[in-house]
């Protein structure tokens, strides 16, 4: 395919996305066109040439990392389904955004799994929720819902059972609040269910389980092992109720002796329809929902969403960027969140290794201290709902106070700055060193982690792995550096990378990242002092702001990896109050693409540790 050997390949691989788009337009006349809708970027590719163009983007233009692939339904505006891809260079820079359109009736696109394997789960999701068939996909099955579900729920004309109105706020609740009712009273069955008109109970067969096992490729042949012993294939089902799957995650594993032949992740047990609800909500209403994605790091989720919507607002005339103090507070919260998350995930990795709960209890002690601060600042320990477009919800309080509400509880009343500086300069560094000393040299930990669950760097990039999983494999990719946001450019910190890409490296990356976070926080403290009293939010805060039409992809480096929000405002030239499309590129979800390849050939006993080392959270995986 690459017959442009005469091209100056090196400059192609470092040019801007605009250069890349120009190159594509020239190379594929007729098949590639620029996206001219106001506020939209990138190119639209003819489905017939999609694979070829994608290969060019990857090989010739150097966009080797596919961050996000998602679908949008433009019902009433051309009536097509559109697949949107965001590709990045692992060396940094902004996204090349390309799209392919297909009609809604017979939705069909070529699969890009052959180019980026990271597209695997995302295409399955688009098939599940939008009904787009991907030609050439190796395993095109529903991923979040069950096989046999009626319809493709993210399409704009699909109405849920408790459907009330197209957009919020609903007329029945607003402005008078007179028509509040419970949805079950409206529904015949009193439940959140709806059956198709031609539904025949007599003919019903529940195929959901059967198809799962079929998908896992379960066969019952005899195998000869290396040493000539003949064994059966054994199928083990783990989850969705299993103490070590970190939530309602399920795996169907087929075993040859003790080693793993195939591992098929099954998810969707916590699929709670963020995106469908998000399209009905106003922009601001989505903020508390983002808390519930990765519920261990709600502040980070808030930040990503705020950035995505701010990017859109910047297209309009009356936009003022967040104030400096707001940015300082945002980074403070984001880095504290990283520590909270890594404490938790290391604690639970140790749980998975069999050190049942003791390391986790130690880590939790420190985590609770940070949660106290979150609670004082935002009012909630976990679901902070703290960021706003253009700033944050409230300044950090003068004092951290709490009443003693329980036995064993103490009345707390500290000066916030003192509390923070004591925590950042003394308490946490001491704890992390101590924790490191107890764990890192531990023989069991080293024996069970070193060389287990190896993910080579090329595979990691190709599988769209992000966060500590990617960095553990030795790829220095961190959104804070690759495409900096907020005030990260002026802060001094290192990106931590591993070498071998095994569990131990991921663990070590997390441990060291906490130290780097503390380093950032130490630079944040004087900035907090300096900006005391400055405004924490820019411009006037509208309850339901009008967001100018366009698309944006805002991403942040969340503790679990790159978290992206794809937000589209569409349908009204003056701007919209509700997003047309709200998609979350969840690191936990896409990182799981790597679980199958990583576990192949490993022992069954290592599955939970490998899973634990990816650090997933199901709220975000299933959304």
């Amino acid at each position: 395919m690459v017959d442009h050997a005469a091209e100056p390949v090196e400059t192609l691989k470092t040019g801007t996305p605009e250069d890349a788009a120009a190159y594509l337009l020239e190379k594929f006349p007729g098949a590639v066109s620029a996206d001219t809708r106001p506020g939209f970027q990138g190119v639209i590719v003819d489905p017939a040439k999609l694979v070829e163009v994608a290969q060019t983007i990857k090989d010739e233009l150097g966009y080797d990392f596919l961050s996000s692939a998602t679908a949008v339904d433009y019902l009433g505006y051309g009536d097509h389904l559109e697949m949107v891809y965001h590709a990045y260079r692992i060396s940094g820079g902004t996204a090349l955004n390309f799209k392919a359109q297909t009609d809604r009736e017979n939705a069909k696109l070529p699969s890009l799994v052959g180019v980026w394997r990271g597209a695997d789960f995302q295409e399955r999701e688009a098939y599940d929720l939008y009904g787009i068939h991907f030609d050439g996909h190796p395993n095109l099955k529903r991923i979040l819902l069950w096989e046999g579900f009626d319809g493709h729920p993210m399409r704009k004309d699909w109405k849920e059972a408790y459907y009330e109105d197209e957009l919020k706020p609903f007329d029945s609740r607003w402005p008078d609040g007179g028509g509040v009712h419970r949805s079950e009273e409206k529904n015949v069955f009193g439940k959140n269910v709806r059956y198709p008109a031609d539904f025949d109970l007599a003919k019903l067969t529940d195929i959901s389980e059967e198809s799962l096992y079929k998908m896992a490729g379960v066969d019952v042949e005899m195998h000869a092992m290396d040493d000539g012993v003949r064994t059966d294939t054994l199928v083990v089902n783990m989850g969705p109720h299993h103490p070590s799957t970190h939530g309602v995650f399920r795996m169907i594993i087929s075993l040859n002796g003790e080693s793993i032949n195939t591992l098929e992740p099954v998810m969707g047990y916590l699929h709670r329809n963020h995106e469908k609800i998000g399209e009905r909500n106003t922009y601001l209403m989505n903020m508390p929902y983002t808390d519930r994605l990765d519920y261990l790091s709600s502040m980070g989720n808030n930040l990503g969403y705020a950035i995505a919507v701010e990017q859109l607002m910047a297209l309009g005339p009356r936009y003022s960027p967040p104030t400096y103090r707001a940015e300082v507070i945002r980074v403070l919260m984001a880095e504290l969140t990283r520590i909270v998350n890594h404490l938790w995930s290391i604690g639970f990795l140790l749980n998975d290794l069999g050190a049942f709960f003791t390391p986790m209890l130690y880590a939790n002690n420190e985590r609770e201290k940070i949660l106290d601060f979150f609670e004082a600042a935002s009012g909630s320990r976990m679901m902070c709902n703290y960021m706003r477009f253009g700033g944050v919800f409230k300044d950090i309080p003068e004092r951290i106070k709490s009443m003693a509400t329980m036995v064993n509880d103490r009345v707390r009343d500290y000066d916030t700055m003192q509390f923070l500086s004591q925590m950042i300069n003394e308490r946490l560094p001491r704890f992390i060193d101590e924790y490191d000393r107890y764990l890192t040299e531990n023989e069991i930990l080293r024996e069970r982690c070193i060389g287990v669950g190896v993910l080579p760097a090329e595979d990691a990039i190709n599988l769209s792995a992000v966060g500590p999983l990617l960095r553990g494999s030795g790829v220095a990719y961190d959104v804070r550096r690759a495409e900096p946001y907020s005030i990260y450019p002026e802060l001094d910190f290192d990106i931590v990378v591993g070498k071998n890409g095994d569990i131990f490296d991921r663990y070590a990356v997390r441990m060291q990242e906490m130290r780097e976070s503390l380093r950032i926080l130490r630079q944040i403290l004087p900035r907090l002092e300096q900006t005391k009293g400055e405004p924490i939010v820019s411009g006037t805060q509208a309850y339901s702001p009008r967001v100018p039409p366009g698309e944006s992809y805002g991403r942040v480096e969340n503790p679990k990896g790159e978290l992206g929000y794809y937000v589209v405002s569409y349908g009204d030239d003056k701007g919209t109050q509700n997003p047309w499309r709200y998609h979350v590129r969840a690191p936990s979800f896409i990182n799981l693409t790597a679980l199958g390849p990583m576990t192949r050939g490993m022992k069954i006993a290592d599955v939970v540790t490998i899973l634990g080392s990816i650090d997933i959270v199901l709220g975000e995986t299933d959304r």
Binding site: D150, L270, N364, M382
Partner: protein, 278 residues
Amino acid sequence: MSSKELDLKHVHDTEFPLPAEMQGNVAVTSLSRIYNWSRRSSMWPMLFGLACCAIEMIGTAASRFDLSRFGMEVMRATPRQSDLMIVSGTVTKKMIVPIVRLYNQMPEPKYILAMGACASGGGPFKEGYNVVSGIDKYLPVDVYVPGCPPTPQALLYGLIALQKKIDGQSLANLDDVPWYGVGPSEPAPIPILGPDIIDPRQMDLIRRQAELAARGEPTYVRELPPVVKKVKAVPSKVTKAAAAAPAEIAEDPRREEILKRRLAALARKRARDAAKAN
């Protein structure tokens, strides 16, 4: 445990006067009381987290809030060994099937605590197409704990409320302890994943609806309470007059009768209380 540590006042349940020197060692009690006391003091919850609320549940069990003060720290990963299912998070249609199975596998007596807005009624995700609007649509709930997520304090309060509930159960009353009735208990019917989730208890209703739809007749729809829009009060002479003289409340013919009975009941109660005081 030595008898000194065992606080007998929780167990003691009688008017029977005990000699002072025996009070630390001997308790005279009813079977119900000792049975309830031992059960409520060793509730074993199932180790089973669903969503964000599960993190707070773990937080409750962990170092700071320390669930073991209530004898509940023994989280079992298998339903066969647990007494209490804490439904900690959003119940989805895909997940309700395993949850009902797990519930059926728990030995009786068993209890369910719905933790958080989602488990109690769907919470923020109620409208979602894959969300069950409350675990009580499928399983009986004993205690609801509000919050999103409930703080560990709230969860502890809910657990204490459950203990109170257990204290109030009498072995003499089969409504309280149905598991001592004759014959095995009915398992909860397991939902089926069809085009949407199907509750086996609603099969007839679903079939009837499908027949109506097949015949082209309108399916039965529940009547919604009418949307009452509050109209801004216009101060007119008529409304003012109405406010000045509220319409006579229609006299209930049974009013006299009811009042008389209530007063009589009150008098009886007073007399009883007075007799007790003497």
